[in-house]
């Protein structure tokens, strides 16, 4: 590893890295998403055609990844706000990261069926 790449490791640095990576990914999706939505000004057919690709099993998996990125970024963002504005925040930053990850896992399990259910039904019938 090149010198200067690792700050201190552990929860603080890795949550910061994950926050960056998810943030950049979400921003790039946002560009694409505004463009595809803009097709409603072209024609209903053009819009429905593009949205049809969003309903395919592979894109459903990407949507699950998008939900994962957004939920982590949202929950960890609230943790960052707590660290910055709550006087006891910095002292509890590690504990708060584990809470963030716990809530994230629960929400991701909850999102499994709604986001991926239709893809599973399409792939394996019924």
């Amino acid at each position: 590893m090149p010198a200067g790449t690792l700050y201190r490791g552990r929860e603080g640095m890795w949550s910061w890295v994950a926050h960056r990576v998810t943030g950049v990914l979400i921003f790039f999706f946002l560009f694409v998403h505004v463009l595809d939505t803009a097709l409603v000004r072209v024609s209903p057919e053009a819009y429905d055609k593009v949205v049809a690709t969003y309903k395919t099993p592979i894109v459903a998996l990407l949507e699950y990844g998008l939900v994962a990125a957004i939920l982590f970024h949202a929950l960890n963002g609230l943790r960052v706000i707590a660290v910055d504005f709550w006087s006891n925040g910095p002292r509890h930053q590690k504990k708060m990261l584990w809470i963030v990850l716990g809530v994230w896992v629960v929400l991701m399990i909850g999102a499994l069926y709604p986001v991926l259910g239709h893809a599973v039904r399409e792939l394996w019938g019924s």
Binding site: R20, G23, V24, I26, F27, L30, F31, V34, L35, T37, A38, V40, R41, S43, P44, E45, Y47, D48, V51, Y54, K55, A60, E63, V67, I70, L71, A74, G77, L78, V80, I81, D84, F85, A111, P114, V115, G117, H118
Partner: protein, 163 residues
């Protein structure tokens, strides 16, 4: 002034003082300002409050975006059949209500500005050459303005009877 000449103390001609350095009371060495020292040329304030405002904006917009985006995900991907029900008719139904128009407009502006400022920070952190930063940020701001304007135009000019 020879560079190969050494003194008995082991101090080279550069570090050494006296006649070897070429400086003397009559010919003093130039004064070197300490870095970041305030001089007469330094403006009273070297920076405005922009970075602080940007820092605060990230936190305030972040809180609002948590509500707007998670609500958006629930509506689009979870409730009422998830992604399967999305289509032109579904968009037309939602944008018939000013409430959802304002929701989506606010989400568009806040998310784009929040994301653009985030990427600005990333560019500042990793692009080491001033020229690279200039071009990347130019590209970022162009794409951001274009996307915000396009999205705003689409929300305001949406026509359910386009066909």
């Amino acid at each position: 002034m020879s560079t190969t000449e050494t003194t008995a103390s082991g101090i080279g001609p550069v570090e050494g003082s006296g006649t070897l350095s070429g400086y003397s009371p009559e010919n003093p060495a130039p004064l070197i300002e300490p870095p970041r020292k305030r001089t007469k040329k330094t403006p009273k304030s070297t920076r405005g409050n922009f970075e602080m405002a940007a820092w605060l904006f990230m936190r305030l917009s972040g809180i609002v975006l948590v509500v707007l985006v998670i609500g958006h995900l629930l509506i689009q991907l979870v409730l009422d059949g998830g992604v399967s029900k999305i289509g032109f008719a579904f968009v037309a139904g939602r944008w018939a209500s000013p409430f959802w128009q304002v929701w989506d407009l606010l989400m568009l502006w806040l998310a784009m500005l929040h994301g653009a400022n985030g990427l600005r920070t990333v560019i500042n952190d990793y692009a080491e050459r001033a020229n690279t930063r200039l071009w990347l940020k130019g590209l970022l701001y162009t794409a951001t303005v274009f996307t915000i304007l396009l999205g705003t135009l689409v929300i305001f000019t949406f026509d359910p009877n386009i066909r």
